[in-house]
């Protein structure tokens, strides 16, 4: 069990505390993290494969927690609700305060959520979209600034792409060294995993160079992907998917190129398309 989670704020008296124990709701200091969305934080915990409890506080009547064991969402509790229902409710909350507690003792923790976290997040996004569809449409109609709309679309896309990267992280485990997804037209980094923004920009320049080199000097067009053999048993795969460029660096001993191309990527792309 990992015990080095840097975002753990409150560990006092936890040695003998059960993972299913709710906790005191009277002190706001107990939820020192704010300004973060529940979904984003859940993804970070899953990606880092942490065993912890994430407490969520919306107001005095709405609070609860998620339980993770090695990055897997085991349970959620919110008021009288538990399991998937509680999770779905808390994911939809906005402007929440959060706290992270390490779980040292998983005894008594029963897994009540079998659904993949990404599916829960997608389902929550879909439900929220349905509810706010009418309002959003009205808002968009009166919006004077086109950029505002682009930002909304960008944010939604970023969430979906982060979810795709999380699936990749889960499937490839420690074989995945780094990954990023860039908007080809705008040059914006939409999602990344252990990759510096400079890396995304550098490979964007490379793609643009190759595209123009092919267009200007040959009758051919650059295709959908590049494969770069790297030193230290690593491979970099550059994929052009629609308007995006995916750059994936991985250990080719722990995960073969064939596995990435034929199993992992089709699954990730399928998930992305399902979220559209």
């Amino acid at each position: 069990m990992k015990k080095d989670f840097k975002l753990i704020i409150d560990n006092e008296g936890l040695e003998n505390q059960s993972a299913t124990d709710g906790g005191n709701r009277d002190e706001l200091q107990r939820w020192p993290l704010f300004g973060l969305s529940v979904g984003s934080f859940l993804q970070v915990i899953a990606m880092e494969r942490q065993t912890c409890m994430m407490e969520v506080y919306l107001d005095a009547d709405h609070w609860g927690h998620f339980c993770f064991v090695e990055g897997e969402l085991y349970d959620a509790v919110s008021g009288a609700q538990g399991g998937e229902k509680a999770a779905m409710e808390m994911i939809s909350w906005e402007n929440v305060r959060l706290n992270i507690k390490q779980i040292l003792n998983t005894t008594g923790l029963v897994r009540r959520i079998d659904k993949n976290l990404m599916l829960l997040l997608m389902e929550s996004t879909r439900l929220r979209d349905e509810v706010s569809d009418g309002e959003d449409q009205q808002e968009l109609d009166v919006a004077e600034d086109l950029e505002d709309r682009e930002v909304v679309v960008d944010d939604a896309d970023r969430g979906k792409l982060s979810a795709c990267l999380s699936i990749m992280v889960k499937d490839m485990g420690d074989a995945l060294t780094a990954a990023n997804i860039v908007d080809l037209a705008k040059g914006k980094v939409l999602a990344s995993y252990h990759a510096a923004p400079e890396a995304a920009e550098a490979f964007l320049r490379l793609t643009k160079f190759l595209k123009s080199a092919f267009r200007d000097n040959t009758q051919a067009e650059l295709g959908d992907y590049l494969i770069l053999d790297l030193k230290n048993q690593e491979t970099l795969v550059l994929l052009m998917i629609g308007e995006q460029q995916w750059c994936i660096v991985f250990n080719n001993v722990k995960c073969s190129l064939g596995l990435l191309r034929n199993v992992v990527m089709p699954k990730v792309i399928r998930t992305y398309n399902e979220m559209q």
């Binding site: 510096a196 053999d229 660096v249």
Partner: protein, 123 residues
């Protein structure tokens, strides 16, 4: 550099790829001059790929990582390009990807021709 061995490299390549072989070109990385090229080789393309390799090496520094033995570029349509940079030389191979499976190219053909290429360069 052993020119005879370099020609042997080309022969091995053509034999291994069969109908999947389209064109090939070996050039010096410093000045982009062509040493050996087959009939259908696109010299302009090979020269630009020499610049692309330099761009790749720089881009990889941001991770940081280093380019290994080869890179493979998918081209729209039937073609694909395999590039093998080695020391002061770069070997560009154009294949018909419909006739040469990627696995065969990278796991069978590539190891054989890399050995022959390295042997030709250091001789």
């Amino acid at each position: 550099m052993n020119i005879q061995k370099l020609n042997v490299c080309m022969d091995i390549l053509k034999k291994d790829l069969g109908d999947g072989f389209v064109a090939s070109c070996i050039l010096t990385t410093e000045d982009g001059q062509v040493l050996v090229a087959t009939d259908q080789a696109n010299i302009a393309e090979a020269t630009l790929l020499n610049d692309a390799t330099a761009l790749m090496r720089n881009a990889l520094k941001t991770y940081p990582a280093e380019l290994g033995q080869y890179y493979y570029i998918d081209v729209a349509g039937n073609m694909a390009i395999l590039v093998i940079p080695f020391g002061d030389y770069q070997w560009t191979i154009t294949v018909n990807k419909k006739l040469v499976k990627l696995g065969l190219l990278l796991n069978v053909v590539l190891p054989a021709i890399i050995n022959a290429f390295e042997d030709a360069v250091v001789s």
